[in-house]
Symmetry: C2
Subunit: 266 residues, 2 copies
């Protein structure tokens, strides 16, 4: 439970169901709660038998996740007691789906602006596509095999992602920042923090960890994104507190991994 952020509120007891010990795709959901200052339980990390609940709900072979909700393909999932039809438990999955669901409720989309909500969503979806492509730099062939079994392919894939894909995505984020006058270079959509900002920030941060040399070289080309925006999001109240807390997990063997041989070599 994010104790530091508990406050009087009408929020339901949100539960994040994800693997323990890694930021992974769960991190996009954590950042949304933390930036909004809304309490949530990180089930696998917050209790001893938490991962058993995650596995039972999200990784079973049955025809439902739990409580009459459809199966979950893969964590993360969000469990919300009392939010479902006629007061039941609601379970939804897929990272961008959870973010879209929470966006309104956590105040992480512009209010009363339907257009802007879909613009926020398209940017978050694009950042999550980049997240997947970066994952594939160390697992280009088979997700269930070890990195060491696909290292020659990983070197090739990482080079393409670093040299072609990351710049294409970063150019899009840079241009979006520049085109959003209301955001003054700090926000991608509108004049305050949205989950698009958090999602893009997390991917840029992960890429800085995975490819520090490439990231350093890219700063000159994308200063709005990689310097002004990146630093600005890090200083947002809820984000700053979270990043300084023990709840922020270290990158290790998840989506973002640092293998020096996959980074820029010159």
């Amino acid at each position: 439970m994010a104790q530091a952020h508990q406050k009087q509120s009408t929020f339901p007891p949100y539960e994040l169901l994800y693997h323990p010990g890694i930021p992974g795709r769960g991190e996009f959901i954590r950042l949304a709660f933390e930036a909004a200052g809304v309490p949530y339980t990180d089930v696998a990390n917050d209790s001893k038998d938490g991962y058993g609940i995650v596995q039972k709900t999200c990784m079973n072979d049955g025809t439902e996740s739990s409580d009459g909700n459809p199966p979950v393909f893969s964590p993360p999932a969000l469990r919300v007691p009392g939010a479902g039809k006629t007061g039941k438990v609601l379970v939804i999955s897929q990272t961008p789906n959870i973010l879209f669901y929470l966006g309104d409720k956590l105040g992480l989309v512009p209010e009363d602006d339907e257009d802007a909500k879909f613009h926020v969503n398209q940017i978050a979806l694009t950042a999550l596509d980049l997240n997947n492509e970066v994952h594939d730099t160390h697992h280009p062939i088979a997700v269930m095999q070890y990195y060491e079994e696909q290292k020659p392919e990983a070197v090739k894939k990482a080079r393409d992602v670093r040299e072609n894909r990351i710049p294409k995505f970063y150019s899009y984020f840079e241009r979006t920042l520049k085109g959003n006058e209301a955001g003054q270079g700090k926000y991608l959509v509108g004049g305050k923090l949205t989950y698009a900002d958090l999602t893009v920030w997390q991917v840029v941060d992960g890429i800085k960890f995975a490819f520090p040399r490439e990231s350093e070289a890219l700063e000159k080309t994308f200063p709005q994104l990689m310097v002004a925006f990146y630093r600005g999001v890090r200083e947002e109240k809820g984000v700053k507190e979270y990043l300084g807390s023990g709840r922020r997990l270290k990158y290790s063997m998840g989506v973002f991994r640092h293998y020096p041989e996959l980074d820029r070599q010159d």
Copy 2:
């Protein structure tokens, strides 16, 4: 323009912006309009200079797509004159974002059931993830290089996707169908057609084209998905008319490609 489906309505003049000549990711949007019987313009295929408009809107290097909307990372995009703030043109992108936007408006989500809308969305997102993984079977290393330049890696990647990934996704769809009593094995969420059904159907259909031998072998394991559901969606009124029309483009060099060496060999 989908002439066969024109009817009196209050729908705005929806425009699909996508590459010409291939089904690709645009096909998920086409299927939604066609199944709903709602008119739309397929800009690049319907007029001689249409692709110029797509390129100018979706593939420019500027800080907006058009009409004050943020840039588009990549087609498809949806252009809706009159739908934006204060009567402006709205442009949104990212396939699942467009489907979520249209779901309500085209009657392709259960009515008055917020939970079900997020369940529809999570299933569509998962099918689109599988779509991406199948794309990567012929382009595991670099999307801008030729297949022939990455064929050894493609053979390895395709084997993993066929043997491990497709069965994992198909099991999820099969179990979702079985768990949804209201759908009687025909629909993934609720008791009538949603864009989750259309999106899953398109991916199963594309995989049948790309990997016919593997698909045939999988039918025994996933009969609900690959036989009952697959045939049922194909017989839905709008879908059936569309598939028999010239508007349904043939698979060729897009996401779904048939290279016999990437299919099951025994």
